[in-house]
Symmetry: C2
Subunit: 193 residues, 2 copies
């Protein structure tokens, strides 16, 4: 199990000694996902929080007309999951699947609770992770309210230049909240400038 990335991620926020590190690692399970494989489907229970060590996943819904809407992408060094389902052990709102062959490290709710109890510093760690996620989401809400599709697209590629290269336009449009057709039109227009 390759735990380098996750330990590095944690040490950016809290300090762990050897025992704590080993205990934490003992609670993790490795999992590989092939492209298009599901980590979670709407209606299932989200049994784990998941740290991505390789690949790219998306968290999304499918509306009544069959259209997909992506609430977040996850790549290396990010956590993904359906937090509400995970916390309350109720049916998941979101689908999560792999856009590339991916590798993740998983922790169950029971193990995470054990971790909080034995190493309370992790309360702090996940508080800090959540703070960042909260701030990023608030920015996205504000952008969705304030900007045109063109501006949102330019912001997206500006902020995530590497990510865009790994995604199809269809995925990008499902994240921006526009149709693939319109994104194609925007790109044409922008390239002509």
């Amino acid at each position: 199990m390759n735990t380098d990335l996750i330990i590095q991620n944690i040490s950016r926020h809290i300090h762990l000694d050897k025992t704590e590190t080993d205990f934490f690692i003992s609670l993790l399970q490795a999992k590989k996902l092939k492209r298009k494989e599901f980590l979670l489907k709407q209606g299932e229970l989200c049994k784990t929080e998941n740290f991505i060590i390789k690949g790219c996943l998306r968290t999304y819904t499918i509306d009544d007309n069959g259209f997909e809407h992506i609430v977040m992408f996850g790549i290396e060094d990010w956590w993904v999951g359906d937090l509400y389902s995970f916390l309350t052990q109720s049916p998941a709102t979101y689908f999560i699947d792999a856009l590339e062959d991916s590798e993740i490290l998983q922790i169950t709710k029971a193990n995470l609770d054990k971790l909080y109890e034995r190493v309370p510093k992790f309360e702090r760690f996940f508080r800090l992770i959540l703070q960042n996620a909260f701030i990023a989401q608030q920015q996205r809400i504000n952008q969705n309210l304030s900007y045109s599709a063109e501006q949102r697209y330019l912001d997206f590629i500006g902020e995530h230049p590497n990510l865009e290269q790994r995604l199809s336009q269809k995925q990008v449009s499902a994240y921006l909240g526009i149709t693939p057709v319109f994104l194609s039109m925007l790109r044409k227009k922008l390239s002509q400038k």
Copy 2:
């Protein structure tokens, strides 16, 4: 200083003994805001996190065309602030002002850090608060991506029936991401059904 509501709020998530409670209260400052008074302006430093004990506030931006966009409303029993500005002590993204005469309890960053150090349980408390806020925001992003303005309006009044009564339509439209004119048209159409 009326601390009943905040102590009640906290005790829903963690247990505090008398000493801890008193220490926490000693870190708080009460503040009153008149309707239309600002708690924070874009560009200022957000020096406190703020718990609302009475009234209603909004967190919003003003775009290049002068239009306001509300990222969240806050009422009794909620926390408000510009988290990024608060944490990094960098200029605020958001304006926060009172939509009603309001009363809040404030804690500074220095005092909050002191609190985390002396009573680490508060790491847990704010992690739990952030979890809920994160989940609510994710739902809102999904709704903005997935639903028409009419559906979003119906969802909003369905989920926050009491809140809607306290807001002008102008505020509701700035939250939904539509113009007041269009909201008025929607309401007319819905009332005719």
